[in-house]
Amino acid sequence: MRDRIFAPSRILIYLVVLSMAAAYLAPLAVVVLNSLRTNEEIAQASMIGWPKQWAWSNYAAAWSGFCVAETCAGIRPYMINSALVTIPATIISTMLGAVAGYAVSLWRFRGDGWIYGIVTLGLFLPQQMRLLPWTIVLRDIGLINTLAGLVLIHTIQGISFTTLFCRNYYVAIPHELIRAARIDGAGFFRIFWRIILPLSSPILIVTVIWQFTHIWNEFLYGVTFTSGGQQPVTAALIALSAAIADIPQHGVQSAAVIIAALPTLLVYLFGGRYFVRGLTAGAVK
């Protein structure tokens, strides 16, 4: 087996695969290197290059120094905003989806097929079809330009995905298990708590990773429903590149991009298997 690695066809395969991998990694490498170069160095050369002197201070500036619009607090407040939106919305929508998925797959009730069908339409309805109604609703309940408003939106919209994920996982649980528990007098919550939840950790991890990644990376709602200091980090990044287009600070900006991308990248690195399962679960409905 070992000597076959050096067969010409094998070498060609490795050559192609490795150059593709290099192409996929290149943008990340460029940004990481830029985040460690001084603004002046980038301005003199190009965006692509090896740092002459390591400018770690870019990260400090990106985190809490540079100015977006009138405030000079770096990217930190926007990172906190994103966390304050993403974490509650992820947890709540996952919990609601788990209960709803259990209800439509195992508990069953009149009309479950219909309501589940409508809920899954949420996977397809474009965000643009919901922008105006959300604007009006948020304004009427006083949550426009608040983080709570974004939590509400992402929670309600997330139910479509979380219910789908959990329902598709729970249908594989034998109905006899539930029937036996019901005969023993166990109710809706008891069965969920004692039987369903202990079996659920794989799908809950998939769902949490999916929700976290999507909500953290979401931009359209963030930019539409919040402004100024209430914006999530994706919206702030756009505001940042617009704000410093006149005096380029590409080193600091690169550091800001890395910081903003880091939470989802870490989630991906540590939960890669579950991340991919979420991708394919959403696809093969």
Binding site: V30, N34, W107, I156, I183, G185, F219, T224
Partner: protein
């Protein structure tokens, strides 16, 4: 035993005291599902309704028929956006299919470090489109990125200025989008390759099929249902593309990289023409349905055929 069975509350018709006792359960089942389903249906209808009203800065009632639609369809902005969507959608889907299939086949050759490589090809999916767009806007910026680098190396007449070229700018969106999501096609194709019937492969090997013919004749034909799924999902993404363009070109130069989702946002929140913005959103939905309805019909007939077979 019979007592225990009859003691089980019958789902559907509990007594009044049972209803009260089971109220938390009903609430927990129905509230989230009704909120989700209710907002989907009512928001969609609401937007459709607004698209027929003369609303500008605020929603007003009234009926203007299809006037908002004809107005949107007549703007150059929409026409450019629609043409761009056709070009971007087909190029992006085709290229990410080719790249995804190629990567999947390569990874399927029992190569070393497959896990690491798979991680590399999929990581862009974990990054937001805002980040992807920002980074590619640097790489493709003639004064900053690849063009500048090559010129600094001495090839001073080198040109790679798609980002500021009206005719080529849309291809920068294609490049960034393929980079970001071809890993998705790869993941699905790889799963498909791994589930190809081993007997089928063995039989072909016994018949003396070489690796090339094996893929062409035996393995790839089994992948076409996956291919359709990938195409539909990527098209759905292409139709709603917004963040990537905002970060990469912001629709420019001029309106050269305008896409429907940007037109909707522009009409609703920058020009304050809610009726027309809603009409553009409904048009987006119709484009999406033109993709999804045939797909749903195909799925339906496939399932029925599988059941009868």
């Amino acid at each position: 035993m019979t007592d225990a069975v009859s003691a089980v509350p019958r789902p559907g018709r509990p007594a009044i005291s049972g209803v009260v006792r089971r109220l938390p359960e009903y609430l927990m089942i129905w509230v989230p599902l009704l909120l989700s389903a209710g907002h989907l249906v009512s928001f969609a209808l609401w937007t459709i309704w607004i698209s027929f009203t003369p609303s500008t800065l605020v929603p007003v009632s009234g009926w203007v028929g299809l006037r908002n639609y004809t107005a949107v369809l007549a703007t150059r902005n929409w026409q450019v956006a629609f043409k761009n969507l056709l070009l971007f959608g087909s190029a992006f889907v085709l290229l990410s299919l080719v790249a995804g299939l190629m990567l999947a086949i390569l990874l399927d050759q029992r190569i070393r470090g497959e896990n690491v490589l798979r991680t590399i090809f999929l990581y862009p999916l974990a990054v937001s489109f805002v980040v992807t767009g920002t980074v590619w806007s640097w790489l493709l910026n003639p004064g900053l990125g690849i063009e500048k680098l090559v010129r600094d190396f001495g090839w001073t007449s080198f040109r790679f200025d798609w980002l500021v070229d009206r005719d080529m700018a849309i291809w920068t969106i294609v490049v960034a989008a393929v980079w970001q999501s071809s890993g998705f096609a790869m993941a699905l194709f790889l799963a498909g390759l791994r589930s190809v019937d081993a007997d089928l492969v063995k039989a072909a090997q016994i018949d003396g099929a070489g690796p090339f013919r094996m893929y062409l004749r035996v393995i790839l034909p089994t992948l076409w249902p996956i291919t359709i799924t990938v195409v539909v999902i990527q098209l759905q993404f292409a139709i709603s593309t917004f963040d990537l363009v905002r970060a990469l070109t912001d629709g420019g130069p001029g309106i050269a990289t305008q896409l429907p989702a940007l037109v909707v946002y522009d009409l609703m929140f920058q020009r304050g023409l809610l009726g027309r913005g809603a009409a553009a959103a409904v048009l987006m939905l119709m484009i999406l349905l033109a993709v999804l309805l045939p797909y749903a019909a195909w799925r339906y007939f496939e399932r029925r055929r599988a059941r009868h077979a």
